[in-house]
Each structure stands twice: as structure tokens, then as C-alpha cells.
Symmetry: C2
DNA sequence: CTGGATCCCTCACGATACTG
DNA sequence: CAGTATCGTGAGGGATCCAG
């Protein structure tokens, strides 16, 4: 059988840190896979649905590659033997670079071509890319987003921001909508408030550079 | 004839800033091409030599794509009608992301596989990736590197760092060697001094986080 | 039903030859 | 020097099939 499917053979053969980086994460789909795992661990079929068009063989191959490269690891989540893929510390270390690439992508406007696939948790990561610690001051807040088919949260504390999917129990602010609804939607932020005050919500939204 | 060679058709079709970024600069060779142009403008054959293995058709195609995407532009350099490719402002805006990717690539040690291609100007960019403004203080210096087949310089001023190839006329420090010779070589930094003092050279090297 | 493996077709890549 | 034209090869993409 000789399983070499997980080996990416096409290397640049350049003694350069950027080339070595791209040798690892430069293949098609790879960085988008890391993006999804930056928000939360995922199961095989969740990734398959998020990365529409990847094909099961390619996804399996990429997961093997990334595991060999020590960027992700398989985990048994919960008691039911559910297998999920999660980033290792080395994989999580890609976050600054990915946020920088996101910032660059945001500078040319949304350019949302109609029909393009979309997931609300991607916006959560874009929000983190636009976060500016120096604008946060002493702000300490947890904001919950509740939209049809999506639940996620953003936390700012000690000038650091973290994000996640699901429900945060200690959310002072609850938004009736997604991240895009809050920052790009037609409604004013205050209209979307399920819990919390408009002034604290304003302090939250002011911590981001919406057009970098 | 219908010239569609410059169109990259395979897009991710995801309404996500990262996916849109990778749609533009995610194809093979593209980011390495931008890397070379970040150091200085280059001619077609210079790029061809740096990006060993790319093939002339692919390089031409990538250059067209990047010009269409407003990342690079053709310029007539000098009076002899010499054509060079240079980054536009939008292309140069990729620098923070590329430096972040370089930093990630540097965290796992050099891993220099023998036989890999190498260029000294790549190290110049890696040096910029490791530069830490808060370590510079009020340092204001220009360091010239002179090695066989390579000449380049690094400038630190007002806590900002810039790099370039060729000779800087106002260099207070001249190194008899490349960037790698200074930071990784067997010689002590002082041994490589052609001009300048060891103490000012030490202030310079202290402005970088050699192992991030 | 999840988590893949196998097959096959297409297209992007890479090397070479050729042209203005 | 700066590309264009041609063509063989292999990675990507989609469907289907298989094991737990």
C-alpha cells in the first residue's frame, strides 16, 4: 500500500524562511483549514462543509500533512468517541500571520461576489484582525452573538481579545444577530441589543479599526 | 487569440477576507515573487534566476496576474529602456503579512536542507522581520553589507527600519560579509568590521529578536 | 451516519524550444 | 533580454464506494 498520500513533494527548495513557511502551509485549502480551526476545533464533516469543494480525499490528505507538520492534532472530544481536529501550539502560532493576511484582504472593500459561500465564524476572526488593543483602554466585556444557525462570542479583557463559538455564560452584552449584522448591517447597533446597554456596546465597537 | 492566460480561474468562492486574499496571492510562486520585489524592483530574468524552477511561461503569467490585481507595475528604469517590475502601494501593503509569515518560518530553526537555493537579499528581509522598534531606542544608523556577489544595507532611524540593495553612501558601519555572516556566521561581529565601531555595531544587532 | 479511501477526468504546473 | 508556444506530468476536484 505504501501510504505516501500525506507527503507534499513539491517544495520550493529555497533556503528562505518565507519559502519554508509556504512549503508547509502554501498548498491549496491549507490556510483556510487553519483559519477554521483558529475559531474552534472541528470534525471532519464540519470542515468538509465549510471548505465547500475540497473533496474528501484532499481534506484527508491535508489533515495528514498538517498533523505530520505538528500544526494540528486529533482529539477525542466528549465521551462518544467523537474525533475532532484542533490546532497545536505551533498551529496557533500562525494566527498573527493569518490576521495580517485578513487585514490586507479587508483593505479593498468587501467585494462580496454574490453566490459566494459564507460562515459567520469567519467574521469573528475578521473582527479579531481589526481589534486594536490601544483603543480598548480598561474595557472588560463579553459580547454574545446570537443569529440563526450561529452562536459565538468575543471577549476583551486586559487589552487582549479572544473569540469562540457557542454561548458564553458571563456575557454582559447579547446581540440579536451576527457579527456582520452588528458592524455592517442596516440596523443600528442599539436595535440589536437583547441584553446590555448601548453605551457599553459603543465602547466595544470603538475598539476596532473598521477600515484599516 | 483571446488572451485569458492572466486570469486565475480557480477561486475559493468564499465570502471571507482570508479566502479573497489567497485568491490573489495564494497561487504557487506568487508570494515569493512579492518577496523578491519587496527588497527591490527586478527585471524578468532576475526573477527567473531567483525563483529557480518557475518556468518562463508561469513567471509571465504571474506577472500579468499581479499587474491586473494592481500589486505590481512595469517601469522603464534608466534611459536604456530597461523594463523592471516594482510593487505598487497595494503590493507593498503585503509586507506586514509577509514578515509575519517569515517570523513563523523562523521559529522552527533554519532547517537548511543542503542544496537549497539561497540569496543574501532574502536574509535582509528576514532581518526586517526580526526587527523590534522598542529595542532601537534613539539608534540612528546605516549598516552596509558587502559580500561576494551581494551588496545591501539596513537603516534604522526614528525607530523605523528600511532595507535595500546596492551601496548606501552614508553608511557608518560597513560589514565585510552578508547578513548571515554577521548574525549566524562563525566570525564574531567585530571581526567583520570594515568601518565603524564594535559598540555601535552591537547597538545595531541588539535591535533584533534573533529567536522570536 | 461519520470518516475516510479509490477512481477518473481536468487543469495547472514545469521544462524545453522557439520568436521578436 | 523578454517573453510566447508547445507538451508531458502530476496535483486538484467531483463522484462513488467502503469500513466502523
Amino acid at each position: 500500500m505504501l501510504d505516501c498520500s500525506g507527503m507534499s513533494k513539491r517544495r520550493y527548495k529555497q533556503n528562505c524562511a518565507l519559502a519554508r513557511t509556504i512549503d508547509v502551509i502554501g498548498e491549496r485549502w491549507t490556510l483556510l483549514l487553519v483559519r477554521d480551526l483558529l475559531v474552534s476545533p472541528h470534525r471532519f464533516n464540519e470542515l468538509l462543509e465549510s471548505l465547500k469543494g475540497i473533496g474528501t480525499n484532499l481534506l484527508a490528505s491535508r489533515l495528514q500533512d498538517l498533523e505530520s507538520a505538528d500544526l494540528i492534532e486529533r482529539r477525542e472530544s466528549g465521551g462518544g468517541g467523537v474525533r475532532v481536529y484542533a490546532l497545536t501550539e505551533r498551529g496557533r502560532a500562525l494566527e498573527p500571520a493569518i490576521l495580517a493576511l485578513i487585514r490586507w484582504g479587508l483593505t479593498r472593500g468587501p467585494e462580496n461576489r454574490v453566490g459566494d459561500h459564507h460562515r459567520d465564524d469567519w467574521d469573528l476572526l475578521a473582527l479579531k484582525a481589526l481589534y486594536q488593543p490601544n483603543r480598548a483602554g480598561d474595557l472588560s466585556v463579553v459580547v454574545q452573538f446570537d443569529a440563526p444557525g450561529f452562536a459565538g462570542w468575543a471577549r476583551i479583557e486586559d487589552q487582549r481579545m479572544s473569540i469562540g463559538v457557542g454561548t458564553a455564560r458571563d456575557a454582559e452584552i447579547v446581540i440579536d444577530g451576527s457579527v456582520a449584522d452588528l458592524f455592517l448591517g442596516p440596523s443600528s447597533p442599539a436595535e440589536l441589543l437583547t441584553r446590555g446597554t448601548a453605551s457599553s456596546l459603543h465602547r466595544f465597537t470603538s475598539a476596532f479599526a473598521l477600515r484599516p
